[in-house]
Symmetry: C2
Subunit: 415 residues, 2 copies
């Protein structure tokens, strides 16, 4: 079953908008066993849209279209599709009701223009829009499926998940597909591959595929399996995960959609623990990562961002002569920062970071990208030094991420 995604909109062609919809759809479809063969972005022009539809239906079985719906686009896609399939207009009562209700929820009355959303080609099946007013439209012609959706990401996403995918599953009798992703950190792709070589070889016999997906500071391992027997498929995948844990368990910090911040947040709640940060070169980014999680106020107390050396001394009690002796970017200073931060905020743990984010400020001994970090609890201060490159943004991001991994090690008493 091959799919083509067609995105409609001049804003994509002039680069005003990055097409994130297609990647999101590609991921969702791929996870569900539907292969995306091509992505085509065309202009707000009926002739161009029709050409794209003609070419797509010659190549693939399913054509998913986003964009060009709604009043500001003058419903270009809807009109073009109606003409393309030679249909008439009809009013869809469910859409009328949805539009009226949506406006009423905001204390408003839907205008005549708003109610035009309910006008759809009479041969299409309507896909309800749970996050907006423009409905999705499902067409079938000569065994090919065409679906038109709005371009607004969160409208399209909900429509794909709750409307389009279930229908595709039913129509195409898609097999059950199961994915489980292990999130690892602190180990490179090649070392990981070596450690699990024999295990990896054993996956094929069970019809399980393994993908290495590297991303910032981590490697994700995705196991995938598909077929008709849902219970057997899940059991096989879980069995294989149980087998790999003794080999690389210490590197696995989470599964699937977990992030390090959420995993650590849960861990802090479980331990009934609190945390504070003392940041120099990360300038608040570490605290920002921690507090980006809803509910983080249950464990995060606060931070001192000590960009200036005087602040390190005045607010974090780092002796001025310690800074003079070792430099602000040193294991000695970052250790005191962590220790005193923990005492100042009376938390279970404290993380401290001091480094040279760049692009300036490096020396021969401590070039740009030299960053020290420390995690303190009541019994130890664990330190770690990294040497990154010259990119300020990446240095800040990697340092915060690595410090969070260091926290995890201390919390779980890992080496």
């Amino acid at each position: 079953m091959l799919t083509e995604i067609i995105t409609i909109g001049d804003e994509i062609l002039i680069g005003q908008v990055v097409d994130t919809n297609s990647a999101w759809m590609g991921q969702l479809l791929n996870r569900n066993g539907v292969k995306v063969h091509q992505i085509t972005s065309v202009s707000d022009d009926p002739a161009h849209i029709i050409q794209a539809l003609d070419l797509a239906k010659a190549r693939v079985d399913i054509v998913l279209i986003t964009g060009g719906l709604g009043p500001t686009k003058d419903d270009l896609t809807k009109k073009t599709l109606r003409d393309y399939f030679g249909m008439n207009w009809r009013i869809d009562d469910q859409v009328t009701e949805d539009v009226i209700k949506r406006f009423a929820a905001f204390g408003k009355v839907a205008s005549e223009i708003n109610l035009l959303q309910a006008q759809v080609p009479d041969g299409c099946r309507v896909i309800r829009n749970l996050n907006g007013t423009a409905p999705g439209m499902w067409f079938e012609q000569n065994g090919k499926i065409f679906v038109s959706m709005p371009g607004v990401p969160f409208e399209m996403m909900s429509m794909m998940e709750h409307g389009v995918l279930p229908l595709l599953r039913e129509k195409l009798k898609l097999p059950f597909i199961y994915h489980k992703t292990l999130l690892t950190q602190g180990v490179g792709e090649s070392v990981l591959a070596e450690k699990i070589e024999a295990w990896e070889d054993s996956l094929a016999a069970l019809g399980i595929k393994l993908a290495y997906l590297p991303s910032t500071g981590m490697v994700r391992l995705r196991l995938s399996s598909s077929g008709q027997d849902e219970v057997a498929i899940k059991n096989n995948v879980h069995q294989k995960i149980a087998e790999v844990l003794p080999l690389i368990g210490q590197f696995i910090f989470g599964y699937d959609e977990d992030t390090l911040e959420t995993v650590l947040g849960k861990l802090l709640l479980e331990q009934n623990a609190t945390i504070a940060t003392a940041e120099s070169c990360t300038g608040g980014y570490l605290a920002h990562r921690i507090t980006s999680i809803a509910g983080s106020s249950a464990y995060f107390q606060g931070s001192v961002i000590s960009y200036a050396n005087e602040v390190k001394t005045a607010q974090l009690g780092v002796p001025a002569d310690l800074i003079a002796q070792h430099g602000a970017v040193s294991e000695e200073v970052v250790s005191v920062m962590a220790k005193n931060c923990r005492e100042k905020f009376q938390t279970t743990y404290a993380i401290a970071i001091s480094g040279i984010a760049g692009p300036d400020g490096g020396t021969e001994e401590k070039p740009v990208g030299t960053i020290f970090m420390a995690v303190a609890n009541s019994t130890e201060i664990r330190t770690h030094k990294v040497q990154y490159g010259g990119n300020r943004e990446r240095n800040i991001q990697y340092a915060a991420l690595t410090a969070l991994f260091l926290l995890r090690k201390v919390m779980l008493r890992l080496d």
Copy 2:
């Protein structure tokens, strides 16, 4: 002159990678008067690539191809293009030299596989890669131009700017195009349009186009003009900008690629001033924005992130009974936070933020998205209240941005 962008790579179709290259190229080309007619993403498959090339050359004059170069892709695109144009291999000495030098810079010797990068179709013109080893390739056939570039963004970007665009300019005798963008804040698109209506109407006579480009917390106004007489074009645009300043000057915080952080950084340096932040709901994000600018250590001293109320009291001297009386999210508390933060860090200015980022923690009186901010200097404490919605991430981002705008007003003594 119409262009089609073809991106090659399964990783885009399965959604592992978001195609940001095309949007970047679309922007660059559009700014330079070359229209992108279509973007097509195809799989790592020679037959599919050839089909895309055939269709593209029937539609457009210029075909820009990214991806599928380099050893991991087994140089799929290079081989396909050689066959497509019926060429032989040749070795390009400049590429050989570039590859050897690039490895030597890292103290390494280029392997035979690395040196294969210099093998190119003998009828193409090589575009040097200043950021990698895979060269770009420029083909011409029946008046159509085809350019193949690597998919790695920073290799492609430098190649487009320094190699492909200058060549296109020369070959196509592109007119001179001039853009100047005014960055405004604190005023909506419709109010802005009203204020400058007469001025906007006067642009057409000089061949100047105006585009409204709204983005997070701001509206950008882009003036564009093109033609052969570079001096006259620039003068006209500058003249028109001089005319619009009396109308909306107080909303303009910068030009072109400026960001609020860089503009404020320059302003702080000019005033020989320093700054600190006291943050509750933004959790360090404001400090992160300020310190994302290289050289910010010249004016940024530090922050107290007072997530817990006890930290507001202990570290920022906010009386506990003030919090009890007005709530931590109040004008009274945020004022004291700003005042005491400024004194604590002995800075010229201090910014304080306290609010309910959500999704939980709202009340009827102060729903999620209620955020207070204050900016203190030696003579005044300016406060501002905003009421955003329920999205935590957006609340944090908007609050930091709005607080920076408040700082700008205080620094420039604007109302």
